[in-house]
Every structure is written in C-alpha cells, then in structure tokens.
C-alpha cells in the first residue's frame, strides 16, 4: 500500500516545522528520510504514524484518507530508536501484544509469534524478558513485534542508532531482508547517509522541514539537486564559481580562481555566481603545471588504509579535500606543489 502526502503542514511546540510538503511513496518500497537532527524527519514520520497531528493537508494510505485517524486505527507497525519493548512482558508477550489487541485466537497467535521470532533468529528466547537481551536482540524483537501484525505501513525511527557498529550492520541486513520479503511499504528515518544509501529504494533528503531532493541512492549521490544535498550525502567540496547561463544537462566551463574548469549543470542555471560540487574522490592530483589543472599545494596528508586523504590549498587560500586510492598515487608529500584535475562528468555546478 502506497503513501501519499499532499500539501502537509505540521506545527510542533507552537512552531510550524513542516509546511506544504508533498511526497509519494510507492507500494512495497523502502523509503528513507535522511537529514541532520532537527530537520523535521522524525516529526514527519510521527505525523505519518498519527502521533503528531497534521495542521493542514492530506495523508493517504493506498488511497484511504488517514489524516484524522488516530494512530491505533492506522494499522501501522513502528520500530523505535530505544526499542520501546514492554519491560514487564516476556519477548513472546511483546510480540503477541498486537495480535492480542486484534483479538486473534491464542493458537494462531502462538504459531505466528513463534514464526516471527524464528524469522529474526530469536526463536529460542521467547520466555526471556527484554532486560536479559542484548541491544541487537531487543531491536530484533521490536522488529518482529511490528511485523507480526502485518501492518499496511512499517515506520522506523532511527532503529539502528543505539547499536554499536557491528550489530548495526547485522540488524540492517535483517531489516532489509524482512522488508523485501514482506513487501511492506516502509518509511525509515536516519541521519546516517551510509545507512540510507545501502538500504533504500528511494531517499528523501530533508532540510528545515522541506524535502530537498527525492530519488534513488545513485540519484541523490551522483546528481544532487542542491549543494545542501551534495554536502550532506557526499561530504563534497563546495566552491563558489562564476558561470554563464546553462541549460539542464549541459557541460561547459566555469571559472574558479581565474582558471576555467569544465563542469556539468544538472539543472538550468542563470549566469553569475554558482556552486561547484566536487567530491573528494572525484578530484585527481597531477604534477604541477599539467594542462587543465588548478595549481595547489599539499597542506596535510592522512593515511586511512584503503585511501589517503589530502587537504590541498589553492593559491587563493581555499582548501579542498581530495581522496586518492592508497597505492601508486599516494606519493605527494606535505608541502609539495600539485595540479588538481576535475572530471567534467562528475563535477557539477549548481545554483548557489
């Protein structure tokens, strides 16, 4: 069942945090709301759940209007950052809770709960209490509890951020597997771009209550529509440049510190100031004076195993981050003069 959001406005604590938001989420897809803390992504999720009332606008699950439906009637499954397991109930009773609320027969409940627990690899822990489980196990129980009721929509609020790095990967895989298997429309909230890129069918990058860009992982990474998205999703170098008027998709020169560099404009641009977006791994370092490169000097080098990170100072004093694969190319010493080369296909120019 898909989710359709139309002209949504939400006020929270007296402030309008979301205004005029539009979003369509395909049935059965995994949609991620990505953004820094305070961007409104959790508020949007909680509005979809019904815990935060919509001031204006429409929210539909598969064509049915749910804008004013209380949360317990929305048929959602929700997974929380702090697991939110009922501490006084066993793992089994936690998972059975939603089925009992739906007045299903005890026999049916028993087999469904057991199957759900086995699916998350916890079939043997039904009689434990949540306190006796590890963080990863708790979140698996929470996942089983949300999925066992076969909700129309699965909502997840930063479910991985209380887990340590290793568990985070494991639970992440479990979530993706279960979601693909059950084909439940899922909205996942996170501030971790790697999580978003790895898990999602589509991603919505949020900033100050607005969706800056919605697209597949590759689209928001490769084709950021705004410098905000480029920065948040890719940690790109953002540099102010001069450009002439451009049509969407057109590649042409922009002027950076007096040097012309070729860059592609994903959207139409007016002449004047613009922002050059170049990811650290998309910049090349060459011998100084190489044709078409920008002169600079290595200020700092950091060896990170698989790659080496450089900070390069341009003549204008600007600093750019450049990542090179470790190996043959990491021969630039701090203080050395270099030339920076930009791949025209991967270097973008966006409106400022």
């Amino acid at each position: 069942m898909g989710i359709a959001i139309e002209n949504l406005a939400v006020a929270y604590g007296g402030q309008r945090v979301i205004d005029g938001l539009e979003l369509t989420i395909e049935p059965g897809s995994f949609f991620t709301l990505l953004g820094p803390s305070g961007c409104g992504k959790t508020t949007l999720l909680r509005t979809i759940a019904g815990f935060v009332p919509a001031e204006r606008g429409h929210l539909r699950f598969g064509g049915t209007e749910v804008t004013h439906l209380p949360p317990h009637k929305r048929d959602i499954g929700m997974v929380f950052q702090d697991y939110a397991l009922f501490p006084d109930k066993t793992v089994f009773d936690n998972v059975a809770y939603g089925l009992r609320a739906r007045k299903q027969a005890e026999g049916v409940i028993k087999s469904k709960v057991q199957a759900a627990l086995e699916r998350v690899g916890l079939g043997h822990l039904g009689q434990r209490h949540p306190a006796a489980l590890s963080g990863g196990q708790r979140q698996r129980v929470a996942l089983a509890r949300a999925l066992v009721i076969q909700p129309q929509v699965l909502l997840m609020d930063e479910p991985l951020s209380n887990l340590d790095a290793k568990l985070r990967l494991q639970v992440r895989e479990t979530i993706v597997e279960l979601q693909r298997e059950a084909k439940i429309t899922t909205v996942f909230v996170t501030h971790d771009r790697e999580e978003a890129l790895a898990m999602s069918d589509r991603i919505g990058v949020m900033n100050q209550g607005r969706l800056e860009q919605v697209g597949t992982a590759a689209q928001i990474y490769r084709e950021p529509r705004t410098s905000y998205v480029a920065d948040f999703v890719g940690g790109a170098n953002l540099v102010e440049v001069e450009t002439m008027a451009r049509q969407a998709g057109e590649t042409g020169p922009v002027v950076l510190d007096g040097t012309a560099i070729a860059a592609r404009a994903p959207a139409a641009l007016a002449a004047g100031r613009a922002t050059l977006v170049a990811r650290p791994e998309d910049i090349l370092l060459a011998e100084p004076g190489t044709a078409g490169t920008l002169p600079g000097r290595i200020a700092h080098r950091q060896y990170l195993g698989g790659k080496t990170s450089y900070k390069v100072v341009l003549d204008s004093g600007r600093v750019l981050a450049v990542d090179l694969q470790s190996g043959a190319h990491d021969r630039f010493e701090p203080g050395a003069k270099v030339g920076l080369g930009f791949d025209p296909a991967r270097t973008l120019v966006l409106a400022s």
Partner: protein
C-alpha cells in the same frame, strides 16, 4: 477525531483541577480570608495587640532554628561517615530511614515523657538516687524530641548527595596538588551543601507545622501551631478569626522558607553530575570504635520510644501513677474488649484514604508527566501546595469550608478521610511521577501503534510498570495516615477518634499506660505492612523518597 481523543485527557485534567479547587484551594482561601475578620474584629489588629502572639511567632522561629541546627549537627556527620567509611556496626545505621516512619510523633513525645517527664521512669530512678534533672516540659523536651524525630531527614538528604557526588572531582583536586582533607572541603562541600541546606529548611518547615510534640511538651512555651489549634477548638467557643490569622502567619513563614529552599536547589542545579561514587574507607582501631559507638548510641536512642511503648503498655498503673517494674496485660485487654473503636476507625479511614489517594495521585501524575495540556501546570502546582501547609491548617480549612454550606461534611468520617488524602497528596504525586518519568513515551506509542487505544494502553502498559511504585506509595500512605494527628484532631467528631487522637487524649489526661496500649497497636499497624511489603513482596519503599 485525533483532537477528540486528546481531549479525553483534557477533561480528566479539568475534573482533577475541579476536585483540587473544591477540596484544597477553596479551604485554603477560606483560611487566608478568614484572618481579615469583619469590621473592627480584624485578626491582624488582635495579633498586634496581644504580646502572647508575638511571643508565639518568635518562639516558633527560635525553635525552628534550634532544631534545624541540632538535626544538622547530628545528620550531616552521620551521613558523611556512613557514606565514606566502614566502621563496626555500620549496618544498623541503615534502619534509620525507617524510624521516622515507624514511630509516630505522638508516640515519640509520649514515650520521652514516660522516660524523662515528671513521673518518668528515668526521672524517678535518678530522683531516688538524689539526682534531680530539670523539667522536661518546655524547651528541653521540645528540642530533644524534635531533634530525634527530624534528624533522619537531614541524614537521608545528605547521604544521597554525598553518594551522588562524583569522587573523580576530589581526585582531580588532589592531582592538582591539594591535600585530601582540603580537596574534600573545597570540592565536595560546595557540591553537597545545597542538598544539606534544602533538607535543613525542610526540617524548619516541619518544626513550624509540628503539632503533636509541640502541644504535648510545649505547655510552657506558646507556639504558633498550638495557639492555632487552641483558637480552633477552645472550650467556650472557638475564635475563627484568630485561628485564621495564626494559620496565615505560619503559612507565610513556611512559604518564605520554601522559596529560599527552591532558590537554593535551583542554584545547586549544576552539581548533578553523575559520576563514580567513593569507595568506603575502612576505619580501624579507636576512631572506628568511636564512630561505631556514637552511631550505635544514636540508633538506640532513636529506637527508645519503641521499647518504652512496650514497657508502658504492660506496666501496672493506677490512674496517672505508673508502677514501674510491675507488669500487667490489663491495658491491652481493656483496649480489645471495651474500646477497640479507635483502632477500627483508624483502619477504615486509612484504608479508604490510601485507595483514594493512590488512585488520584497515579492519574494526576500521569496527566502531569505524560499528557501535558494547558491545565496540567496548574495541577502540578496545586498538588504540591499541601507541602506548605501544616496538618493543622489543612484541618482548619476543611472545617471552615465544609461545616455547613454546599457540602456539609463535618461530623462524618469523610472529612477525616479527606484530610488524610489532602495531606498525603504531594508525596503520592511525587512518588508516581518519578516512576512515570522513567517510562519512555515510546513504550506507550509502541502499544498504540500496535492497535491499542490510548486509554487501554494506560491500563495495559503504563499501569503495570507503575505498580511497584504504586505499591510502595500505598504502604507509605498507609503508614503515615494511620499516624496522622494534627489535621484529623481538628476535623474529627465524637465517636470517630482514631488511634493517634485517642492517644493524644489519654496523654492529656495523663493516662500513659492506656496510651501506650494504643501506641503498641498503632506501631504494629504501621510495622506489619512495612515488613510484609519489604520482606514478602520485596518492595523498595525508599526508591523515590527523599
């Protein structure tokens, strides 16, 4: 529909607020406005005219300061040594928090009289050997009994602060070159001080509101609470204007102190850094023995009332004369056969008050913590209000408001129950809300998201989690209401005596043996639920207290 569902809680809040307005705010306003009197008969003019009242105010403040000092002098060192050192006999100090709970004030005052009063067994024993001790009535008795009644408050407050103090701060000070003693003084003291001051001011307010000890021992020293009581129930007609005036003075006194306390606590906010607690250092040899003996002595003295009540209950008496050393079970038998009413009354009133109080507190604290709306801040303030009101004042307010008029309750049992509920309200609320703050909102939302409506969620998810705290609150409410005297003695009517009222009357008639018999039953009624709760149900009574 979502707005409708939220308004369920709004209407609950409005209902709770209405109840509080009728049974708390209105009585309080009656007390305050009553002081103005009518025409020339203004309480404030009378107050200024009679030096007796000025003396009572002064005495009350002096007593408050004196007891605050003595309790601090005992409570702070005891807490410090308990927190930071191991010494022989330390484990018995752990029973101290129970003492204030188990020994009702009226019994403490009575038993101290049985020991050191004019007819007391220690007085007699020493008198027979030619040693005359000064009269226990008046200042010596007031200060002694109140000190031993209230020092545990300072002890508990200070102990919590010292235990919560991050010992790494002290280590940091030492690493920067200060000696251990100096770093303790310079680093720990400022951090702990606000808590000590806060509990000291609490003791001051308790002394100002104290009725039982003040009236039993303070006959020669006019005190505000006693004069208020006398103005309320004086033979030959009470003086409603004067009782209101005196009550207003003590409310003002307590309010000033509470504001100072609030200010101190808010200034001390920065110190709540949770850190590593200190390991207790072992005190060996003479210092250890010395501290152990002192602490042991303190516990023994604090427990003396319990021993005395047993002795008193089984000692032969002829009228007011106690024949120490001769034993009988006549007093207890008489209580059971002829006059069990006060016992039955106490049990009935306290049981009802506990059920009502706990239910109301649980609901209101749920509204305050979890379902905030435009009304809940008012609920929050109102439910804390009884903290500033002594039992005497609450009793007065209820009598003034419900004697006649739209809700005549005087003469019924319900006004006693009401007095109990109102007095315990802040404690019940504090107890429930501290648990509720520990229940994350996400747990309720999880339940709602799984299809259970909000009100059902409260019963299925929140209430079970609150249960241990509610049980603890029930036991504490029970133990404190069965011992309640100062409010119930004002609102009760003939035939509805509770045990503390009966004990008070018997003490007043100097019938110590009969009083002891009731005292013994009262202590049993307090002690048995505590033992059952802590031993059988493993309830932690003090987790959210102090």
């Amino acid at each position: 529909m979502s707005r409708q569902f939220r308004s369920v809680w709004f209407w609950f809040s409005a209902l709770a607020l209405g109840i509080l307005a009728v049974f708390l705010l209105y009585p309080l306003l009656r007390v305050l406005t009553g002081s103005l009197g009518s025409g020339s008969h203004s309480g404030w003019a009378l107050l200024a005219a009679d030096p007796k009242y000025f003396a009572a105010i002064l005495n009350t403040i002096v007593l408050g300061v004196a007891v605050t000092l003595t309790t601090t002098l005992i409570g702070v060192p005891l807490a410090y040594f308990t927190a930071r050192f191991e010494f022989p006999g330390k484990s018995i100090v752990a029973v101290l928090p129970l003492i204030t709970l188990v020994i009702p004030e009226v019994i403490a005052a009575q038993t101290w009289l049985m020991m050191l009063g004019n007819n007391g067994f220690i007085t007699r024993y020493l008198g027979a050997r030619g040693i005359d001790i000064p009269s226990f009535y008046g200042w010596p008795g007031l200060i002694t009994v109140m000190t031993f009644t209230y020092y545990t408050y300072i002890y508990i407050g200070t102990l919590a602060a010292i235990r919560g103090f991050d010992v790494q701060l002290e280590e940091a000070a030492q690493s920067l070159g200060t000696s251990p003693a100096r770093s303790r003084l310079r680093v720990m003291l400022p951090v702990v001080l606000p808590s000590v001051l806060a509990s000291a001011l609490l003791v001051f307010t308790l002394v100002v509101g104290n009725f039982a000890t003040a009236t039993i021992l303070g006959s020669r020293v006019p005190l505000l609470s006693v004069l208020t009581y006398q103005a309320a129930v004086a033979e030959g007609g009470s003086d409603p204007v004067m009782q209101s005036t005196l009550a207003t003075v003590s409310i003002a006194l307590v309010m000033i102190v509470l504001f100072v306390q609030r200010w101190i606590v808010s200034r001390g906010r920065h110190e709540v850094t949770q850190g590593r607690g200190a390991r207790a250092e072992r005190l060996r040899g003479l210092p250890g023995l010395f501290i152990g003996l002192l602490a042991g002595l303190l516990v023994v003295v604090s427990l003396l009332p319990l021993g005395s009540i047993v002795i008193g209950a089984f000692t032969v008496s002829r009228g007011p004369v106690m024949r120490w050393g001769e034993w009988t079970t006549a007093h207890v038998e008489r209580l059971v056969r002829i006059a069990p009413d006060p016992v039955l009354n106490t049990l009935a009133y306290s049981a009802v008050a506990t059920v009502i109080g706990i239910t109301f507190s649980a609901l209101v604290s749920y509204l305050i913590v979890k379902k905030r709306n435009i009304l809940t801040p008012a609920l929050d303030y109102l439910t804390a209000l009884p903290l500033a009101l002594s039992g005497t004042i609450i009793g007065l307010g209820l009598v003034m408001s419900f004697n006649t008029g739209f809700l005549p309750l005087t003469g019924t049992a319900s006004i006693i129950v009401l007095a109990y509920v109102v007095r315990r309200l802040p404690f019940g609320i504090r107890n429930s809300s501290s648990t509720l703050y520990n229940i994350p909102n996400s747990i309720e939302e999880a339940s709602v998201s799984l299809g259970v409506p909000p009100v059902a969620t409260f019963f299925k998810v929140v209430l079970p989690l609150m249960l241990p705290a509610v049980a603890a609150a029930a036991v504490l409410t029970w133990t404190t209401t069965v011992a309640e005297l100062s409010a119930s003695i004002i609102v009760y009517s003939g035939g509805r005596e509770t045990m503390p009222i009966q004990i008070y009357k018997l003490i007043d008639s100097n019938l110590m043996a009969s009083a002891s018999a009731y005292g013994l039953v009262l202590v049993a009624v307090i002690l048995i639920p505590i033992i059952v709760a802590t031993r059988v149900f493993k309830i932690d009574l003090f987790s959210s207290k102090a």
